[in-house]
Symmetry: C2
Subunit: 224 residues, 2 copies
DNA sequence: GACATTAGTCACAATTCGTGACTAATTCGA
DNA sequence: TCGAATTAGTCACGAATTGTGACTAATGTC
């Protein structure tokens, strides 16, 4: 039986915070030689499912449950190598709440995103693309909230933003902007973990937004 | 000969301004019946080319020259119908400078984006996705400049932004922000077209940008 | 030459933002 | 038991950015 070169693969980059760093889920592939190899969970879509459904199916076995968010990143169809040798790979990002990754399937493990073991060049590009997409959509989509449990402290939320943006934020500014955005509502619970004053717990609860359209921004327009 | 169901197609949404509206390039497909049918230029990628190369090949015959920018939008792999019946279609946007679409190939024509003739549902979704991507990347990528000739007046540039944003902008604000961004440099030419004071011509010439990182924005984070 | 039309600039009020300093509530160790 | 350390949360003020109307400039038209 000769496995024909598949036309397509669907590859999922699962992200979750571990401590103060973002981590990516990889699976160990049973290589007959002793050499240890890792790759992103991936598979060819079946003929009767959509690619979104394929991505959901691909994460299921490795992650215990379904992720808090699962979105397409892009299609990768250059000449870089892919484990399945697919002509085109479609990348997805899955966001997993911190602490929610209790029961990992078989040979799966979380790696800090900036210390991945060697993986196929195409999958490397998919991970980079996923990170790029996450950062780009951070202020358009409730990404940060998907990386946290359903209730969280504002310090935790700020920490996630700092993680994703890669820079420190000023506490007062962060809270002022958050307050103005009406994205979050206080619960009446407080958490006193470790030392220091206990923090109030909040939940993600976006209000209807009135059209607050601003002027044009030429923020990041550059050479390309 | 039975044409097997192809796994992939690459579909290109070419955009150019015509007067005060954005237009999309469609080709008439030779239907044996008298019914007139239109579709986005598309084809299956060949086994020896990347999908970017396939997209470039697809636009070539219909558009005279190469577009000023050609970028992937996303992969569309739901159950909506596509002319080629492909399992997955990869959408691209091509930006064409106004007036540069002199020699259209065979049965191609520009349609205002909000008055398209009936097309396959999947292609309809690709057009919507392309518009969405263009708007989302407008402040990250020099999109507006690709829809204009190499020199242009600031009023023309503002008109493009208003077209893409779908709202009016205040002249002084627009110019102040543009000035602060160092994206544009004056030529020593002036154009006196029609009545009114002649306008100075500018060209796109981005300067090195110093890191102007701002605070967090929760601009568009909402319910989804 | 008056007027309509388009380009380009100015200036000021209003808003937003960056920041340091403050108060509050808790744990830990002496 | 008290004080230092630690984390949460708020305030207020100067600086920077933004929205906006009004102004000047240069052209075509009648």
């Amino acid at each position: 039986m000769s496995a024909r070169r598949p036309a397509l693969s669907v590859d999922v980059v699962s992200l979750t915070p571990h401590g103060r760093r973002l981590t990516v889920l990889l699976v160990r592939v049973g290589d007959s030689r002793s050499k240890e190899r890792w790759e992103l969970p991936n598979d060819a879509p079946r003929s009767d499912e959509t690619i979104d459904e394929a991505a959901a199916r691909v994460v299921r076995p490795t992650l215990g449950a379904q992720p808090a968010m699962l979105e397409q990143v892009a299609a990768f169809g250059d000449r870089r190598r892919h484990p399945s040798d697919a002509a085109v790979s479609i990348g997805y990002v899955a966001l997993v709440a911190s602490g929610a990754s209790a029961s990992l399937g078989g040979d799966a493990a979380w790696f800090p995103v900036d210390e991945l073991p060697p993986i196929a060049p195409r999958q490397r590009a998919i991970v980079d693309g996923a990170m790029h997409a996450v950062r780009a959509r951070l202020d358009q989509s409730p990404i940060a909230f998907r990386l946290l449990p359903s209730t969280f402290t504002l310090s935790q939320l700020q920490e996630i933003y700092e993680l994703l943006l890669g820079r420190r934020l000023h506490k007062a500014s962060f809270r002022r902007a958050l307050h103005a955005s009406w994205l979050v509502e206080p619960t009446d619970e407080w958490r006193s973990e470790g030392r220091g004053r206990p923090a109030q717990l909040f939940r993600y609860a976006p209000r209807k937004r009135r059209g607050s359209r601003r002027g044009v921004r030429f923020e990041g327009v550059s050479g390309t």
